[in-house]
């Protein structure tokens, strides 16, 4: 008990004696025989403890003994409660969200079972210390206390990283003083789920964008890995691309909170090769604390000393290797490692399988585009004039050699123009359309209308839906 407790008791009794109208400092001072200055100090201490409160009337403060709402109900035994109080206390106690009552000095006057389960019974302690471990209130409840707002709705993170939704209002007590009643909900799971869904949507959007925007494989892998980490929170991750011609694996993007050593890279290659060989995902899980691992993929090859050493050295728990495969080919492997104690859920694994298909599809498309760009370059640098037209003979493309031989400077001058602007004989176009291809010498027409004879080979190109284009290759060596 504090030394001042005797004085505190006298002050509280004095206020109670004066009655429900409240007591001014002068009135209390006379009854407890303390001078104003000393009394004020004690009054403020009592107020800080939540035992008394005051109401500002003009320039004077009128003091009351705190009669906090709700609080007394829970201090009564069941027998002492009225029927209404019993029902009310049970409802409040069992509510699936937190109910908190504070006085204007942030003292906790009441917390229901929900909050007691989260923070322990902290009645009498300061709200901001219990919830945020802080000397000051980081929420907007001060706005309520200062009377600037009628209600506060805020989302904050507490001292243990929980995300809380707080909705608070002032309530007037029977003695005329005010308290704060707050409804508090732990929304950590919901926020995390929302964030996961947001990240997932973003991941799928990025996958689509990466493929459509002609990202490089490097950009695709790093973008996916970065965003995948936001969704499932792995500790190390890498995407290794397989080159079947060279039988080699290359890392285009990796993430590691540890830094990646040569030994880790070697482990990654071992695991990636295994996933590619099996053509299906497998997981290597550390069990107990022995440093040994167990392969959950159905087959049980020895993981090898080097992999076991990595699991030990980096304190890893799970190594997931997922092949990146499309229907036609395997393009590499996605590797995800988690630190000790962190296991991926089934949902995470489903996500990884789904994402790996999308990554593989993206890689296949990028590879195909790169290959076609290379082939297109061959056409561009070819010494032979090459052109394409629609099946009706309208020019859609001409390579630089064609432009040079026909006397044009830019492709734009040629595209959209008819067959007859470049060739004297229109009948050949009909023959190509009918027979599909044609080879022979033909009289060509230059930009300046001069004519020359040149060997032409032309063929129709047929696509999924029918004739697409006509491609012509001219042998410029024979003039």
């Amino acid at each position: 008990m504090r030394a001042e407790e005797g004085i505190f008791t006298r002050i509280i009794e004095a206020i109670q004696d004066i009655g429900d109208i409240g007591a001014t400092v002068d009135e209390i001072s006379k009854r407890v025989s303390l001078e104003r200055h000393t009394l004020s100090k004690y009054l403020n201490q009592l107020r800080a403890d939540g035992r008394i409160s005051y109401k500002q009337i003009g320039r004077a403060k009128v003091w009351f003994v705190s009669k906090a709402p709700l609080q007394h109900i829970f201090r009564l035994s069941e027998d002492e409660k009225t029927y209404t109080e019993k029902i009310f206390s049970r409802i409040l106690s069992d509510m699936p969200e937190g109910i908190l009552i504070l006085d204007f000095d942030y003292n906790i006057l009441f917390m229901n079972r929900y909050l007691v389960a989260l923070y322990g019974d902290c009645v009498g302690d300061k709200f901001h210390y219990v919830f945020f471990g802080s000397r000051n209130d980081p929420t907007e409840i001060k706005e309520l206390i200062d009377g600037r707002v009628e209600e506060v709705e805020t989302r904050v993170e507490d001292v243990r990283g929980r995300i809380l939704d707080i909705k608070a209002r002032p309530v007037e007590n029977p003695d005329g003083s005010s308290s704060i009643i707050a409804i508090i909900r732990d929304v950590t799971e919901r926020v995390k789920n929302e964030e996961r869904i947001r990240n997932l949507s973003e991941l799928h959007r990025l996958l689509g964008e990466a493929v459509n925007r002609s990202y490089t494989i490097d950009q695709l892998c790093s973008t996916i890995l970065r965003n995948l980490r936001d969704v499932i929170g792995f500790d190390m991750g890498d995407i290794l691309i397989y080159d079947p011609v060279e039988d080699a694996l290359a890392s285009y993007s990796s993430y590691s909170s540890h830094g990646v050593s040569e030994e880790v890279k070697e482990c990654e290659r071992i695991l990636a090769r295994e996933a590619i060989r099996r053509k299906k995902a497998f997981t290597f899980t550390r069990f107990h604390d022995s440093g040994r691992g167990i392969d959950e993929g159905g087959e049980r090859p020895e993981p090898g000393e080097i992999v076991t050493r990595m699991v030990e050295g980096y304190e890893l728990q799970e190594l997931h290797a997922i092949p990146l495969k499309t229907k036609g080919a395997i393009h590499g492997a996605l590797l995800i490692f988690t630190r000790r104690g962190r296991k991926l859920s089934e949902g995470d694994m489903d996500l990884l399988e789904g994402i790996s298909e999308s990554i593989a599809g993206g890689i296949a498309k990028i590879k195909a585009e790169e290959e076609w760009r290379l082939r297109a370059n061959v056409i561009e640098i070819s010494a032979h004039p090459i052109f394409m037209t629609s099946p009706s003979g309208k020019f859609t493309y001409a390579n630089p050699a064609f432009l040079r031989v026909w006397g044009y400077e830019a492709e734009e001058e040629v595209v959209g123009r008819p067959w007859s602007d470049f060739w004297v004989n229109d009948d050949v176009l009909g023959v190509i359309r009918e027979r599909g291809s044609w080879r022979g010498s033909l009289v060509a027409k230059r930009r300046d209308n001069s004519e020359f004879t040149i060997p032409l080979f032309a063929s129709l190109i047929i696509g999924k839906k029918g004739p697409l284009q006509l491609v012509g290759i001219v042998n410029s060596g024979i003039r």
Binding site: K327, G328, A329, V431, E434, R435, G436, S437, W438, R439, G440, F457, S459, L460, I461, I462, G463, K464, K465, G466, P467, L468, Q469, V471
Partner: protein, 152 residues
Amino acid sequence: MVWYRKETGEEEVTTAPASWRATVMVVDDEPDVLLSVTQILDANNYRTIGARDGYECLMKLRERGDVPDVLLLDIMMPGLSTKDLLNYIESDNRLSNMKIIFLTAIHSQEAEEIGLLNSRQVVDFIEKPFTVRRMLEAVEKAIGKESDSESE
């Protein structure tokens, strides 16, 4: 030389040239592809039979007295699966000399993965889009004759 064909490629030629280079059955569910390919083959002295899906191909193979030399076959078609059609062809001794060329939008790796390239009768695989030149060469190679389609 004049002969007629319905737009779908379904009907046979009514007046034939004096000598066909070979008979080719074309199976494709895209009417424009079917029409173009049969017309081009016709123009290159091939006798052609068109079918719009696997069932129609199967019925025509069963009903006809003569056997096509080459079957130009799309892989992705509604109805009877290509695999079932191949199984039927392999089981019918009458068709054992018919050469099959795939004409398809899927990649050869995918076709290999689903076991379509295992048949000894499959001699070529042409991915769409393809040049007519490539197709004619494949047909010529299948029937073992040199091309004469290049000259005017």
